[in-house]
C-alpha cells in the first residue's frame, strides 16, 4: 500500500501475556520509529531504526520491550509479560532518509491490557 500499515488495529490482552505489534513502512523508506501515546499524554519515543545502523533503543521503558526490523523493512515491536501500564496507542512511522524530514505515521495499534 501507499502508506504505513500497522496491525492489529486493536489488541486486548491479559496481564502477563506477550504481544507482538507489526509495522509495514512505506517501501524505500530507510528510517522507522516506534512511539506510544498513553491516555492524555504526548508521543513517547520508544525505538528508532536508521538504515543498517544499530537501532536507538534509548526510549524503551523496560527490558520487556524489544523491537526488530527484518530486511530493512517490516518491524515488530514485542512486549513481554504485559502490564496494565503498557496500555496505550502504539504508533509506527517511517522516514525517507536520515534528514528527519516528514515522518509518515500509521494509524496505530490500540493495546489494552486487562
Amino acid at each position: 500500500g501507499a502508506g504505513v500499515s500497522q496491525s492489529p488495529s486493536n489488541k486486548v490482552t491479559e496481564k502477563g501475556k506477550d504481544v507482538e505489534l507489526r509495522c509495514d513502512p512505506i517501501s524505500g523508506h530507510t528510517a522507522l520509529y516506534w512511539y506510544r501515546q498513553s491516555l492524555g499524554q504526548g508521543l513517547e519515543f520508544l525505538i528508532y531504526f536508521q538504515g543498517n545502523s544499530a537501532p536507538d533503543k534509548s526510549g524503551l521503558p523496560s527490558d520487556r520491550f524489544s523491537a526488530e526490523r527484518t530486511g530493512g523493512s517490516v518491524s515488530t515491536l514485542t512486549i513481554q509479560r504485559t502490564q496494565q501500564e503498557d496500555s496505550a496507542v502504539y504508533l509506527c512511522a517511517s522516514v525517507r532518509g536520515a534528514e528527519n524530514t516528514e515522518a509518515f505515521f500509521g494509524q496505530g495499534t490500540r493495546l489494552t491490557v486487562v
Binding site: 504505513v4 504526548g42 508521543l43 519515543f45 504508533l91 534528514e99
Partner: protein, 111 residues
Amino acid sequence: DQQVKQNSPSLSVQEGRISILNCDYTNSMFDYFLWYKKYPAEGPTFLISISSIKDKNEDGRFTVFLNKSAKHLSLHIVPSQPGDSAVYFCAASKRNTPLVFGKGTRLSVIA
C-alpha cells in the same frame, strides 16, 4: 526532562480568526522542526516544517515561525476552520536522531 514543550494543552478559537499554537525547546542542537496534526483514532499527519536556517515557512493557511534565540516556534493558522479542530504536536530533530515530540495542544475551532 522535556526537550520540547507545548505549554497550552488546549486552545479555542472562533471560525475565521487566527489560531496560534506555541512550542518551546531546550536543545540548541535541534536543526529541524515540524508540526503534526492528529485526529482521534488516526495517526499524526505531517503539516508543515521549518529548517533552523529559516525563520518563517508558509504553506497556504499555515505559517510556522522560528525564533532561534528564544528557542521558540509557533504555528499560525489563518483563517481557522472547524476542520482544523485536532491535536497539534510540535516536533524537533537533528540529523540521525529521533524526532522529539511535545505533548500536544488540542485546538477547537468554533463555528
